[in-house]
């Protein structure tokens, strides 16, 4: 008997269908992945398996069997029996998915509390022991000391393990994991995926929800690709990744930046023909840069040079000092020691007044462009930026980034994430900068939008000859865009060199660790491009 057997599932909110008739079966011990971009309806689908599609939702199906029982007839009582005991839920980012005001022990024990059919449920006295066992099972070191800890006292990886422990506490035959690794660093992500694979090996079925095909590739038996509330393609993992039949799946695969995608446009897979001129002229350089907040050193002895029209990738996990590097390069932080030179002029250690004339030469785009927009401004006013640019110039700048003049009067709040980033780029271009600092510019975007923005940046760079410092936690993205790469860890540069050398022949053990943690393999652009 299938654990889950659903036909023609439809979920709507206030008359709008967000899931428009999908079928889903999960066999015991099987791992099924649903992959899709935001708004595809994948999370709603997953939550409707627990009767938690959300307030105001309307769930219909021609068949909805959970463990052989008809869930369409379930009342709140029966649903509560499903939750935790039939299926455990693991959400993204345990910092908010675990109650921040309660201890690890209380959160896990909550799943044990109710008496149930599973005889494994222990009497109250041994709850503590059971929680300890669970923590051990999910690989939390020193479980004894962790019992009384609160979520904020744990690292991201440990938190996610605790969340998984609470999901498997009542020993459900199914775990539903909704973007379980999205907020995590790549090495931690690899550990969590391994843990989920272990649960599967132990016989638990998995429903894995992700925006990232690469993440699910290593664990899933079958993949469903969702778009706009429909399943556009499904099949075995190898088949879907290796021989995608639906154009959307192909586009999605081609859009993933990686080593293989270098020299190709991500949005359509065509080869980039225009040769980017490389020059030896140094536009930005830094040597011996250090920075500390009080006693905490967040950057130490960083040095690099950036040539005209070149892209320098900076890769590292959270807390590695990437953003500090960006702020030092922008002259927004005063280095504790070391110097920055921009276009041959001293950039650090001089007054803001003497920096000001050079400021337009170095511009920045960041992960969340909305923060960098004055909330009262329209797109035109943002791009014009107090310089009374003529309308033709604004139109030209918007055209550069693939927007038309109809956007001029709109406010960034009403735009999509990708459009906002385009506006930020247009504004930066308005200054004809020699250097563009990109601080995680695509991290908040869906993969297909990310592909468009990366293509746009590549086109603009080829056309305008800007140099770029491209900061990202995503190794694939960095490899795709960079000529040369800095690998950062704990505020230091551990390795630097030509991109291909670093990624194909890493010298430093940390770089090797990072590369080994990248999930995959995804069959890249080669399969469809030329």
């Amino acid at each position: 008997m299938s654990l889950v057997s659903i036909d023609d599932l439809r979920v709507s909110f206030a008359g709008t269908q967000v899931v428009r008739g999908i079928s889903l079966t999960i066999e015991p011990g099987e791992c099924v992945a649903i992959v899709g971009e935001s708004g595809s309806g994948k999370s709603v689908t997953a939550r409707s398996l627990l009767g938690l599609a959300g307030p105001g939702s309307r769930v219909e199906a021609s068949r909805f069997l959970l463990g052989g029982e008809n869930a369409l007839a379930f009342g709140e009582r029966q649903w509560r029996r499903v939750r935790g005991r039939f299926a455990g839920l693991v959400l993204q980012d345990a910092l908010v998915s675990l109650d921040p005001l309660r201890t690890v022990r209380a959160e896990i024990a909550e799943s044990l509390r109710r008496p149930g059919p599973s005889a494994a449920l222990a009497p109250a006295g041994s709850t503590r022991q059971r929680v300890l066992d669970l923590l051990t099972a999910v690989g939390v070191p020193e479980p004894e000391t962790r019992l009384g800890h609160y979520p904020h006292q744990l690292s991201g990886g440990l938190r996610q393990r605790v969340l998984i422990a609470s999901a498997i506490a009542a020993d459900p035959p199914l775990i539903i994991a909704d973007e379980p690794t999205t907020a995590l660093d790549v090495t931690v992500q690899a550990q969590i995926l391994r843990l989920l694979a272990e649960r599967k090996a132990a016989g638990t079925a998995l429903l894995l929800i992700s925006h990232d095909l690469a993440v699910v590739a290593s664990v899933a038996d079958r993949i469903l690709v969702m778009k706009d509330g429909l399943v556009v393609e499904q099949g075995s993992t190898a088949r879907v990744l290796g021989e995608p039949t639906h154009p959307y799946t192909r586009r999605l695969l081609a859009a993933v930046p990686s080593a293989a995608s270098r020299g190709h446009r991500l949005s359509d897979g065509t080869r980039v023909t225009a040769e980017r001129p490389r020059s030896d002229e140094v536009v930005l350089s830094a040597s011996g840069l250090s920075f500390s907040y009080g006693t905490r050193t967040v950057a130490q002895d960083i040095g690099f040079v950036l040539h005209r029209a070149e892209t320098l990738g900076v890769v590292g996990e959270s807390g590695s000092g990437k953003t500090t590097l960006a702020r030092l390069a922008l002259g927004l932080l005063k280095p504790t020691s070391g110097t920055v030179t921009l276009l041959g002029s001293p950039w650090s250690g001089v007054t803001e007044k003497s920096r000001r004339p050079l400021r337009p030469r170095i511009q920045v785009i960041s992960q969340n462009p909305l923060d960098s927009f004055d909330p009262r401004y329209t797109v035109a006013r943002l791009v014009s930026d107090h310089r009374r640019l003529p309308e033709e110039r604004i139109e030209e700048l918007l055209e550069y980034v693939g927007l038309d003049l109809s956007f001029a009067a709109r406010r960034p709040r009403d735009l999509s994430g990708g459009q906002r980033q385009r506006v930020a780029i247009a504004r930066a271009l308005g200054y004809r900068p020699d250097v563009l600092i990109c601080d995680e510019p695509v991290s908040a975007l869906d993969v297909s939008v990310q592909a468009q923005v990366l293509d746009l940046l590549a086109d603009l760079q080829a056309e305008l000859g800007m140099a770029m410092v491209f900061i990202s936690h995503d190794l694939g993205v960095v490899h795709h865009v960079s000529d040369r790469v800095l690998v950062m860890k704990d505020g230091r540069v551990v390795e630097s060199g030509e991109a291909d050398d670093i990624f194909f022949d890493p010298g430093h053990p940390y770089t090797r660790e990072l590369l080994a943690a990248v999930p995959g393999p995804v069959v890249g652009v080669a399969a469809i491009g030329e």
Binding site: R47, L50, L52, P55, R80, R81, V82, R83, G84, R85, A87, G88, L89, L91, Q92, D93, V96, S97, L98, D99, P100, L101, R102, T103, E110, S111, R114, Y150, H152, Q153, L163, S166, A167, A169, A170
Partner: protein, 291 residues
């Protein structure tokens, strides 16, 4: 508190009107008597000396003497403190209980009930306390005759004043609690908790109420101010003895030492309550303990 003392002393300094005249009252007015009074009250000293000796006396717990009542301010306050504290405690309790009941009962419920209750709460917050008092008096004392009109003889005389003062608290506290509950119910951890099979009421008790109480505690700190202010008006309305009456007499007779003492008392009350709330905050939110 030192700041409050200094501020009120500075206020005294810039006060128009001559302190000696107030002290003089209706008595004979000759330069000799004026000089004598000034000497007796230390008014002939330079300002800075006056200020320092004021602070010194304050440190010893001496709040000075009333200009008009010819009595130590400390004794005056001590005599009137009891009924006011009683009133404030009763009002706080009333407010908190009502707020909790309404918030838990209505959070996330149907729009009709929520609309109605939020309307009632809006009224409680908006209606000035003296008006609530008059309304209560009219209904319960004059029309129904359940409670006495004035005085502080027994507990039944405390009911209406406590309600008068407590309803606005219940209103704003209840709103904050309800909004906090609803916000917490939409958080990912609430989804996780539901996914463990928790009932909605268990969710409230174990998870969301604690989250909702955080902004409520912050608000409670701000409400203590209005509590003392409201007590002044409530006491005047119900003719209850207490600090309110004392304040009003002091204001009308420009008895500044008494006013200053009351301001200092308010500051002390604030310090006390915010310390307690700070502690409470730390108990509720573990994230603040390690910080």
């Amino acid at each position: 508190m030192w700041a409050a003392a200094t501020a009120s002393w500075l206020a005294l300094l810039v006060a128009p009107g001559d302190v000696t005249s107030i002290l003089l009252g209706d008595g004979a007015d000759t330069p000799e008597i004026r000089a004598a009074i000034a000497r007796e009250w230390g008014l002939d000293q330079p300002q800075i000396v006056q200020y320092l000796s004021y602070l010194a006396r304050l440190l010893q717990g001496d709040l000075g003497r009333s200009y008009t009542l010819q009595q130590g301010v400390g004794d005056l306050l001590a005599g009137q403190l009891g009924p006011t504290v009683e009133l404030m405690l009763a009002a706080t309790a009333t407010g908190i209980v009502l707020a909790l009941l309404l918030a838990v009962a209505t959070a996330g419920r149907g729009r009709w009930l929520r609309g109605a209750v939020s309307g009632v709460q809006l009224a409680w917050v908006s209606v000035p306390p003296f008006l609530v008092g008059i309304l209560l008096l009219f209904v319960f004392s004059f029309t129904l005759g359940w409670f006495p009109v004035s005085g502080a003889r027994d507990t039944s005389a405390l009911v209406l004043p406590a309600l008068t003062l407590g309803l606005p608290i219940a209103g704003s506290l209840g709103q904050v609690l309800r909004e906090g509950l609803e916000r917490a119910q939409e958080q990912p951890f609430a989804v996780t908790a539901r996914a463990r099979g928790l009932t909605e009421s268990a969710l409230v008790v174990r998870h969301t109420l604690r989250h909702a109480s955080l902004p409520a505690v912050t608000l409670a700190g701000m409400l203590t101010g209005s509590l003392l202010g409201g007590a002044i008006i409530t006491e005047s309305l119900y003719g209850r003895p207490g600090l309110g009456q004392l304040t009003l007499t002091a204001v009308t007779s420009q008895d500044l030492p008494v006013m200053m003492a009351i301001v200092i008392l308010a500051a002390a009350l604030y310090v006390l309550i915010s310390t307690v709330l700070d502690l409470l905050y730390r108990i509720i939110d573990p994230r603040l303990r390690s910080a």
